[in-house]
Every structure is written in C-alpha cells, then in structure tokens.
C-alpha cells in the first residue's frame, strides 16, 4: 500500500460548454481526513464524484491507491474500463450522499448487507455479523429491522455510513453529509464521522461544517470556480487565509 491514497493530477471536468473543474491537483495521504469547502457551484461535489468515477474526467488523471480510475493506460493510450472493472474499483471506495439514498424497499440491516453479500459474494452469516456490528457502532442496534421511511434523517445518514463501511473500503467520500439534516440531527452524524476518523479511515469530506473541519480535519481545501484556491491545515486556512477569495467566503460563513 502506498502512502498516497488519492492523487489528482490536473483533473478537468466539463458539462457541455461549462468547465466545472479546471485542473485540480491534490494529494490525500493514507489516514488523512481532508475537508473541502467552497461556495456552491465551485465544483467540490463534482470532484468527489470523479474520484469514484460517477463522473468521467475529461482531462488529467485520478489515482486511488496507485490505480488509475476509470481507464487503463496501455501503449501510450487510454482505454476505458469495462463496466465490471469500474464497479470493481468502486468496491474499495465508500460514498455517503447528501440525500442519504438508502434503498427504501429494504430494512436498515438489508441496506447494509446488500453489497457485501451480492457484490462481493461473502457468505450471509459473515455479512450479517458485520452488519449488526456496524449498526451497533453507528448507535442504531435497535433500528435494524426498520425501513428508511421510519427513520429520522440523522438515523438514515448513519445507516448510509454503515452501508458504505460494510464493503470495508480503503477510502470514504462524504458529499455534504449533514446539509439535508435538521440542525439538531447534525451532531449525531458528525460524531460517527469523528469516530471513523479517529480509527484511521482516509476520508474526503465536502462540508459546510467549519467546526468539524477545524476539529477533525488534517487538511482543509478551499475550492472556488473549479480550482483549488488554497490548501493547508484547517487552523491556518480558517484563521489566517492567504487569498482574497478565501477571506471573502469565510467572512460570509463564519
């Protein structure tokens, strides 16, 4: 295992004529928690979605754990990976969405068990034990048989985290995991994420929670208009921003 978990080299993404990412260079080390902040439309969610190939990058290269994402480089040419190969790369990358996206026709426990059992093909008994442990870890041991519609937003998001962890990923991506929650439910989700960071999980967190970024993040990235404007330790960036755009943004949100 290399020391660098994610390496982005000049990553560009266009939607039609709109350039959303204009050359992102970033490195995330093993065990690092990187928080990404920036105004809406700055491309931070798009960048996150490129990392597990939910979006195809138009230029540049993205590596996770040393492997090029979405393509194979062969004889100086890039070949698109087959659907099955892309799916295989995603097994190691967990993702948590702003809108939870739990499967509503399955119970919480079934949500957590689905992928390890049917994608990885692990035996049901092993998966069940792990899923129950994970549900306990996110504080929902009593809610295993509930359907998502019977859970609060905070509970749903914790199930979503357990679901991603059930695949035993090397990297976790969080796309504004608390933005759709009522204010009093934000804390319980951040607590779970804080524990996860303490256990050494490599995490990239797109967020508006400056307190979380300062306390838990190892590094903080400020993105605006498709580029990385500033990167540094959360304390530095939040208390002593070097760029005008960072100062302007922070003055509005802090």
């Amino acid at each position: 295992m290399s020391d660098v978990m994610v390496r982005a080299e000049q990553v560009c993404k266009d939607f039609g004529h709109v350039q959303v990412l204009k050359g992102i260079d970033l490195e995330v080390l093993n065990g690092e928690v990187m928080c990404v902040i920036g105004p809406s439309g700055s491309g931070k969610s798009t960048f996150l979605r490129c990392i597990n190939h939910l979006e195809k990058v138009n230029a540049g290269r993205l590596y996770v754990d040393g492997r090029l994402i979405g393509y194979r480089e062969h004889g100086g040419k890039l070949h698109e990976l087959k659907e099955r190969e892309v799916a295989a790369q995603r097994k190691d990358i967990g993702m948590v969405f702003q809108r939870f996206n739990l499967f509503p026709h399955m119970t919480a426990l079934e949500n957590v068990m689905e992928a390890p059992q049917r994608v990885k093909g692990e035996p049901a008994s092993v998966v069940r034990t792990r899923a129950e442990e994970l549900m306990e870890r996110v504080g929902l041991a009593a809610k295993m048989r509930s359907y998502p519609a019977q859970l609060s937003g905070g509970q749903q998001q914790r199930v979503a985290i357990a679901r991603a962890l059930a695949m035993q990923p090397k990297l976790m991506l969080f796309d504004e995991p608390t933005s759709a929650l009522d204010p009093e439910l934000v804390g319980e989700v951040l607590d779970v994420m804080r524990d996860l960071a303490r256990e050494g999980m490599t995490m990239i967190v797109v967020t508006h929670e400056m307190g979380f970024a300062r306390e838990v993040g190892d590094s903080l990235v400020f993105m605006d208009d498709g580029i990385v404007v500033e990167k540094g330790s959360p304390r530095e960036v939040l208390t002593n921003p070097q760029h005008e755009r960072t100062k302007l943004f922070l003055s509005k949100v802090l």
Partner: protein, 295 residues
C-alpha cells in the same frame, strides 16, 4: 396565566351544513335501482333458466378455460417482452432505442382486432417458415400451415400487442425511481444489471403494478377479440351456442357474468400484489386497505 391554569374553551357544537342535494340524488338512485331489479325479475327475455342450463356446460367451461389461459399467457409474455422493450428504450445504444420505438409505433398504432385478423391469415403472408442464414440458404423449412394453430396465433397476437403497452408502463416505472438510487448502487460497486434487478425494478413495481392490473383486466376482455383468428374463447363459444339456439341475449349475459367473476378474482389478486410492493413506503408501517388509503 401559567400553564396549569390554562382553561380549554367550550367545545364547538355548531349546526351542520344541510345537504338537500344528497337526498334528491338518493331518491333518484333508489328509484332507478328498483326499476332495474323489477326488470331483471319480470323480463322473460333474460331467460335465466337458459343461462343456468349452459353456465357449467362443457363448451362454456372450455371457453372459460381458454379465456383464462390466454389472459395469463398474454400478460406473462407481454410483461416479459415489455421489460426487454423498456430496457432497450432506455439503453444508451441509439439502435436499440430506435428498434424499440419502431416496434411501439407499429403495434400501438394499429388496432388489435386487425392485428389478430392478420395472424389468423399469416399463412397467406408467409407460406413457408424456415431456419437458415439471412439472405442465404435455409437449412430446414416447414409449410406455415403445418405449424399453425389457432391457440398459438391467438396467444402470439395478444402478446405482441400487449408488450407495446407494457413497455411504456415499465419505462414510466423505471423513470419514476430517484436517480440517486442508481448512484448509490453504483457507488457500492453494483453493475447496471444488478442495480436494475435489485434496486430499481423493485421500487418501480409500485408504479408499474396498478396500471398492469388494469392491463390484465383489459386483457381478460380483449381475449374476446381472438374470435378474429378464430379461436374458441368465452365470447365466441357463446356465439356458437346462440347460433343454434337463437337465445342471443341470455348467452351474452351469461358470458358477462363469467367475465365479472374472473375480473373480480383478478382485482383481489391485484390488491395483494400492490400491498407487497408497498413495502417500506409507509412511515407508520400501516397496511393498505382494500378500497385504498392506509389503515
């Protein structure tokens, strides 16, 4: 005033709004119902005895059996082919989309009765049927008339027509599922087929089942059109009986009673299927009642 002192105001006891229109409507309906009952009892032209005589007769039971298996075969075949057509229509491959669109254009754009007439006379269009290389030599051929059976053509005609309608119902169901579901499934490493089978289709079923129930009940009645082939289902059987007895109305009403019995059974089945696919959609975990709404 503190909380403990709060006094509840007097409960409202207002005079309810009167509904004279309801009484008028009730009176009209009662009179009409009485007229209908009186007619059924006194009008000899219904000839209930004649209906009863034939109700469980072997030809009628044979017609009922044929109607039932045609309905089941047409719906099973129509749903299966409809899924394929819907997935083709949603495919990223433009040729697949085009082929599916063309199929729908032909089979929805022409009447079922006319299509069934063509299937009944298919031998005139393709006198021979064979397996071979396209535009090349054929390995085996049969005269179409040797393979032809009225039952096969009746089922085929209904299936091909139904598939076109089912394709649109299934496509609408798939499109109704939040795109976030597919993203979440893909992010977990599921393939497109796995996502469709385990995540999207089960959720799409909630939208697909009610109109499919309607289609099945329509199909029960549309089987009567295979008289065009011709094939002896319930209505055609009734016709053959009154061709010799001249008891036209009694035989047709007898057929209607059979159709009502069968469609009532289907409505009960539809209710249980809908309830199964409503799994997880009610926050209170409430069960769906037969007439609709949640208990």
């Amino acid at each position: 005033m503190t909380d403990t002192e709060r006094v509840r105001p007097e409960t409202i006891r207002a005079v309810p709004v009167r509904h004279p229109g309801r009484w008028v409507a009730a009176a009209v309906i009662v009179v009409l119902a009485a007229m209908l009952v009186s007619n059924i009892v006194t009008n000899a032209n219904y000839n209930w005895a004649e209906q009863w005589k034939y109700f469980f007769s072997p030809p009628v039971l044979n017609g009922v059996r044929n109607t039932i298996w045609l309905t089941i075969a047409a719906m099973l075949g129509g749903v299966s082919l409809g899924i394929v057509l819907a997935l083709m229509r949603l495919s990223p491959n433009p040729l697949m989309r085009g082929a599916s669109w063309l199929y729908l254009w032909v089979f929805r754009g022409t009447p079922l009765y006319t299509q069934l007439l063509i299937w009944g006379n298919i031998g005139a269009l393709f006198p021979q049927f064979g397996i071979g290389i396209p535009f090349g030599p054929e390995f085996v051929t049969w005269p179409t008339n040797a393979l032809y059976s009225a039952a096969l053509m009746a089922a085929l005609g209904l299936i091909l027509n139904e598939a076109a309608y089912m394709a649109e119902i299934i496509r609408a169901g798939i499109l109704s599922v939040d795109p976030g579901q597919q993203e979440a499934a893909q992010a977990l490493g599921m393939t497109r087929m796995h996502t469709m089978r385990r995540i999207v289709l089960p959720q799409a079923m909630r939208v697909i089942v009610p109109p499919t129930g309607n289609e099945a009940i329509s199909m029960l009645k549309n089987t009567s059109l295979v008289a065009a082939i011709p094939y002896l289902e319930l209505t055609f059987t009734a016709q053959t009986i009154y061709a010799s007895t001249y008891q036209v109305i009694p035989m047709l009403i007898m057929a209607c009673i059979w159709y009502l019995i069968l469609s009532s059974i289907m409505m009960i089945g539809q209710f249980y299927i809908e309830r199964y696919y409503a799994k997880g959609s009610h926050p209170g975990g409430g069960r769906v009642r037969f007439i609709g709404g949640t208990a």
